[in-house]
């Protein structure tokens, strides 16, 4: 079935540039609240710098805690954003156009926030410089630093290249003005005129980055997992930690993309362009990753629980039936089973249902990261009592500030750049398309020698 997808170009541009117009009181109220949370978090960080990591609840038997969980969680969602966009670009998924910009911007900003938690977790930010001046090649932290920096450059390039034609639209729009916007967009548009050579070069470059960003993102999260796995500490010393972390990142990342897309869709009334099918497709991806993550969790627990190594057994006991059990089972039900049911059942596979499932996944996966970090640290390696990590108001304020910074940065970014990829949406609109739907084949059935073939573009 051939769909008529001719969209009035001006409508697309108006929708894409909608956040750049005059903002209502709701925008400023939300931005104010988010900014306040960030400022309180910044103040708490200054307090922590003065008083030391002990003010956040850290001590010798709780030396890793909430900041390490935040680091993994925020970099993880960044990974999901970049990968969703990269995979959709490489597979030429036509429905990607309205969501790629949001996913790519989310990838950059959540990565910035995640990387900031590496510094906060360090306690002594002045020592970051020693990673550059006195790197220790056998330390996973050094390679973490290298991997995150590489991934940051890749995500910036990945966000910037597809922006060039859209910035040219802004340049043309502000060409008659004398303000800073005209100069800014004029410089950033790189003399884009939409010529065939320019288009070809842009598409080649974006494809190359999309190919490259997938292994980089996999490596980044693998290196992040090795900061745990290469320790001989029970609970961390696991061979499957790298793929386990990668799947976790993808799972929470896709959920975060859904939340970001839903939030901006609702705020800027983009329902015409971001349709329920976008949520359904992303939800199916999330469903697959949910099952995969539950499988990895089961594998990890089975292999450790079956051998019952004397060092791992106390941690497993605490996790499954001890002091951490309520949190662990909350994660299994809240982030594993309930989202799975919400997406699997047609009755709840609606936009609100999918958004609810995604919110549960993001929160539950953050909790899971905390459950990876804390029990292994708290377990006594020699003898004695269990340690613990109880985050103080300082740790919670800084964590909330990190969570608030991502939507705030996105809101600020989209005040200056289009929220939808105008170039891609116009390209898609210009082409007649054969698109499969859930209920009907993409092209008319071809009956050849009595065999029904279905072609899907």
């Amino acid at each position: 079935m051939v769909h008529d997808r001719t969209v009035v170009l001006e409508d697309v541009r108006e929708a894409a540039l909608r956040p750049m117009g005059r903002s209502g009181w709701r925008f400023w109220a939300l931005a104010g609240v988010l900014a306040l949370v960030v400022v309180v978090g910044a103040g708490a960080y200054v307090y922590q710098l003065i008083g030391g990591l002990g003010t956040a609840g850290y001590y010798d038997r709780g030396f890793w805690g909430i900041y390490e969980a935040n680091l993994v969680a925020f970099i993880g969602v960044s990974y999901g954003g970049a990968l969703v966009s990269a995979i959709l670009r490489l597979t030429q998924a036509r429905w990607r156009a309205p969501i790629t910009r949001l996913a790519e911007a989310m990838a950059v900003f959540s990565l910035l926030v995640g990387a900031a938690f590496a510094v906060i977790h360090l306690g002594r930010p002045d020592r970051m410089w020693e990673l550059v001046t006195r790197p220790q090649a056998s330390s996973p932290i050094v390679w973490d630093f290298v991997a995150v920096m590489t991934y940051l450059v890749a995500t910036l390039v990945f966000l910037s290249l597809p922006l060039i034609p859209d910035v040219a639209v802004l340049r043309d729009r502000f060409s008659g003005t004398a303000g800073w916007r005209r100069r800014l967009y004029g410089a950033l548009s790189l003399n884009w005129r939409g010529k065939p050579g320019q288009r070809r070069l842009l598409e080649q470059s974006v494809t190359a980055v999309a190919i490259l960003i997938i292994p980089i993102a996999v490596l980044v999260h693998s290196v992040l997992s090795w900061a745990f796995a290469v320790n001989s500490r029970p609970g961390w010393d696991s061979t499957i930690f790298a793929p386990y972390f990668v799947v976790a990142a993808l799972f929470s990342g896709v959920a975060m993309v859904i939340l970001v897309v839903a939030g901006f869709r609702k705020a800027y009334h983009l329902e015409r362009y971001i349709e329920p099918k976008h949520f359904r497709y992303l939800a199916f991806l999330m469903l697959t990753l949910d099952l995969l993550y539950l499988y990895f969790t089961f594998t990890e627990l089975l292999t450790e629980g079956y051998t019952l190594n004397e060092q791992v057994t106390p941690i497993l006991t605490q996790l499954l039936a001890g002091q951490y059990a309520p949190f662990f089972w909350l994660f299994v039900v809240g982030a594993g089973i309930v989202p799975l049911l919400l997406v699997a059942l047609p009755r709840t596979r609606t936009v609100p249902g999918i958004v609810t499932a995604s919110a549960l996944v993001v929160a539950g996966m953050w909790l899971k990261r905390l459950l990876i970090v804390v029990p292994a640290v708290a377990a006594p390696l020699i003898s004695g009592d269990w340690g613990s990590f109880r985050p103080t108001w300082v740790a919670l304020s800084i964590t909330l500030a990190g969570a608030a910074a991502i939507p705030l940065l996105l809101m600020i970014f989209f005040k200056f750049f289009p929220i939808l990829s105008i170039y891609e949406m116009e390209e898609m609109a210009a082409e007649p398309v054969l698109e499969p739907t859930m209920s009907e084949p993409a092209v008319p059935e071809l009956v050849t020698a009595g065999v029904v073939e279905r072609g899907i573009r």
Partner: protein, 196 residues
């Protein structure tokens, strides 16, 4: 009878006073002799008389003020080290002086540079305490532990270089890609040939 009692009490008092006086005379303090301690270092020699690399002898000599050697006195040897921001004395060893007043310990530093060594003779009933320091310039150290070839050491070194090369290639590719896109798009790229 009363007289006898008085005489007995007087006798006890006199005897008691005499004993107390004698006690006081016996417990009069004896001033310990002041001592002087000197410390030197010398290369340690093997049985054939050759210097042993990275090994030294720390030699302390204890004498009284008039130059008489002090025998059978323990001397403790320390090295001044910085420990959590403070200078502290780390014990090297203890030796007893011989008939020439000399006490010797073997010393094998683990770091090159200037080492400050301390010799200390504790106070005794006969001799006062004494301490002195000396510095030793160490240009060569030998590990006291046998060298162990770490497993997979060669693989580990190659792995580091390999990973570093991959990182450099990725960075070069990313930067090259961005520069190519920026310059190409800016130039208009009308003349570019399609690349299959």
């Amino acid at each position: 009878m009363k007289l006898l009692t008085k005489l007995a009490v007087a006798l006890v008092l006199v005897l008691g006073s005499l004993m107390l006086l004698a006690e006081t005379v016996t417990a009069a303090p004896v001033q310990p002799d002041p001592t002087g301690l000197s410390v030197t270092t010398a290369p340690r020699l093997d049985p054939k008389g050759h210097p042993m690399a990275g090994q030294y002898l720390v030699v302390a000599t204890l004498k009284t003020a008039d130059g008489t050697a002090v025998e059978n006195q323990p001397v403790s040897f320390y090295e001044q080290v910085q420990f959590i921001g403070q200078m502290r004395d780390a014990l090297i060893g203890t030796a007893t002086t011989d008939s020439t007043g000399t006490a010797v310990v073997a010393y094998q530093p683990v770091q090159t540079g200037v080492h400050t060594l301390v010799a200390h003779s504790a106070a005794s009933a006969q001799y006062a305490q004494s301490a002195t320091t000396s510095t030793l310039q160490v240009s060569q150290v030998v590990s006291p532990f046998p060298a162990v070839i770490e497993p997979l050491a060669s693989v580990r070194a190659a792995l580091t270089i390999g990973v570093a090369l991959v990182v450099i290639v990725v960075w070069a590719f990313l930067i090259g890609l961005a520069v190519r896109a920026i310059t190409g798009i800016r130039a208009g790229s009308e003349a570019m040939q399609p690349v299959e």
